[in-house]
């Protein structure tokens, strides 16, 4: 009941999302090419909603993956320092003043991607030295890395001009604004890759989520599988963050929400997490666009403002 109601509300809001924005559209004009309404609807609103959906889906799925792999509900791209890594990477890219590098990919995006992926590599390397209480230690490593990155970023801010600082700050806040379909399709490709890989490996992931020993006793090469899953996840997160900047909270809250709504084990949560994560961010983006007049409120602020209280409600209700 709860599940159906939540899904219905989310879907309903997602369907009306493209019709709402700063400029009100003439519904009758939308399908007539050449009109302003047509242009706004197909070149701005739809790509933005596609991007929001795929971004939410990627963040939620990677949150579910990290939480299952390391058996800790606090694991997300954010808490593991992957998002901070991307921000620092983007900052370095900007400071180097490389501008557009190749194929129209900006230095900010490319270095943001590298920052995210290198952080995962670093975490994986460091986790090999962990023996006791691996999941909590890994989380602590992620948090320590976050602090380190943030401090390094502060130095970059300190050394930057006002203009550079502003560019970097906007990247840090995360944004879903996009024109045309290049970015949404790129993010869709990696989101769907992540979905397919996790769906194919759902039973293995379930065994890993139960315990390392259970997985190995059933003949799963757990180290290799974990590495493969993390590579796919960091690729999709890296691509996403390089395009939108970091968007917090979705990776933490959506898997938790889906778990309490569906009450299934991880092998049956992958598709629901993808859908709910996508819809959740579309709705957050809708609210961001409804609240602001003129310029966008950065999406990360809305996810945290909305998600925070809701998350507290979920935790309290569950205990």
């Amino acid at each position: 009941m709860n599940k159906t109601l939540t899904l219905c509300i989310l879907i309903l809001l997602a369907v009306i999302a493209p019709f709402i924005g700063t400029v009100s559209l003439h519904i009758s004009d939308i399908l007539i090419s050449g009109t302003l309404s047509h242009q706004i609807f197909f070149e701005l609103r739809l790509p933005r909603i596609l991007l929001a959906f795929m971004a939410g889906a990627t963040l939620a799925l990677s949150g579910l993956l990290f939480q299952s792999l390391f058996r800790n509900v606090l694991m997300t791209p954010y808490t593991l320092g992957i998002s901070s890594g991307a921000i620092l990477g983007a900052g370095i890219g900007m400071k180097l003043g490389l501008g557009t590098l190749f194929l129209g990919i900006g230095a900010l995006s490319l270095f943001g991607f590298l920052g995210a992926v290198l952080t995962v590599v670093l975490l994986l390397y460091l986790s090999r030295f962990l023996h006791h209480d691996r999941s909590n230690s890994l989380l602590l490593l992620g948090i320590a890395l976050s602090f380190f990155y943030t401090a390094a970023l502060m130095i970059l801010y300190y050394l930057s001009s006002a203009m550079e600082s502003h560019t970097l700050l906007r990247f840090t806040m995360g944004s879903l604004s996009t024109i045309g379909y290049t970015t949404p399709l790129l993010v869709s490709a990696t989101a769907i890759l992540l979905l397919v890989v996790l769906h194919v490996k759902r039973y293995e992931l379930h065994l890993l989520a139960l315990s390392e020993e259970q997985a190995r006793l059933k003949g799963i090469a757990s180290e290799r599988l974990r590495l493969m899953l993390l590579i796919v996840a960091s690729l999709s997160i890296g691509v996403l963050i390089s395009q939108t900047g970091p968007i917090g909270f979705v990776g933490l809250i959506v898997p938790h929400m889906v778990r309490t709504l569906y009450r299934h084990d991880v092998s049956r949560l992958i598709v629901p997490t993808f859908i709910v994560g996508g819809l959740f961010l579309v709705v957050c983006d809708l609210i961001a666009r409804m609240l602001s007049t003129g310029s966008d409120i950065p999406i990360g602020i809305i996810t945290a403002l909305l998600g925070g209280p809701f998350f507290i409600y979920l935790i309290l209700r569950n205990t």
């Binding site: 299952s68 989520a209 139960l210 315990s211 020993e213 190995r216 059933k218 003949g219 299934h264 084990d265």
Partner: protein, 245 residues
């Protein structure tokens, strides 16, 4: 059939085993005080820990077997269940026993589900099949672990203190099940319950001082003087239970 020859394994500087030689045809009881490496040996037997020396399952060295083959040959029933996931049900947990037999990238078959139903019914867990595993009592969880291992249908089954949380009724059911399994399987039982071990018979491996003494026949181990020598406490001559007086 398991043959270990001059086997050593280690977990860390303090926990290691050396110079173990034994063979298991139908049943082996692994006995010994706390912290003598019984579970470590069990983990080595299912390739969770590296080893040196020789260890063969059905005449093939364990090293040479693929992890999937091992999973189809040996099952290990741990003393306790650790669960992160709160929403795994009894049925889905039991079904994971079929994982090693499942074709890659395919779903479970109807026969797998039938297997689960039959085994859960056999162990009296069928009424709990849609319950989350973490809501079960520790005794029920232990029965469920046994059910999963039965569903895994391996030739070799290693039980690590299976009766520690079972009530007397279920302990008797388990003891009978183990005797029944012995006719078609190679079973290993780690236990502190000497009455159970004596009832099951088979061979005995007594762990002490980072190594173990092997008794081909249970009778030679369950001699009252030998028991007293091994455990350092007096035993009742007929029942072989510890005398508390």
């Amino acid at each position: 059939m398991i043959i270990a020859d001059n086997l050593s394994c280690r977990y860390n500087e303090r926990a290691y085993l050396t110079k173990l030689s034994f063979h298991v045809h139908s049943h082996l009881n692994i006995l010994g005080a706390n912290g003598t490496g019984k579970s470590m040996l069990a983990r080595t037997l299912c390739a969770l820990l590296p080893y040196r020396g020789s260890l063969t399952l059905h005449h093939t060295e364990l090293h040479a077997l693929s992890s999937n083959t091992i999973a189809k040959t040996v099952s290990y029933i741990p003393a306790k269940l650790e669960l992160f996931d709160r929403y795994t049900t009894v049925e889905t947990f039991a079904l994971l026993g079929r994982y090693p037999h499942k074709a890659p990238y395919k779903d479970y078959l109807q026969s797998d589900y039938d297997d689960v139903t039959a085994t859960l019914t056999q162990l009296g867990l069928d009424t709990l099949r849609h319950q989350p595993v973490h809501q079960l009592s520790s005794g029920q969880q232990q029965l469920l672990l046994i059910a999963q291992a039965l569903i895994q249908s391996t030739d070799i089954m290693i039980f690590d203190e299976p009766t520690a949380n079972l009530d007397p009724h279920n302990s008797v059911i388990f003891a009978k099940l183990l005797r029944q399994l012995q006719t078609s399987h190679t079973t290993i039982l780690i236990t502190h319950d000497l009455t159970l071990a004596a009832y099951i018979q088979g061979a005995v491996l007594f762990m002490h001082d980072h190594t173990a003494s092997f008794y081909d026949r249970a009778d030679s181990f369950f001699d009252t003087d030998n028991l007293q020598r091994c455990y350092g406490v007096p035993f009742h001559p007929q029942t072989r239970t510890v005398l508390y007086e």
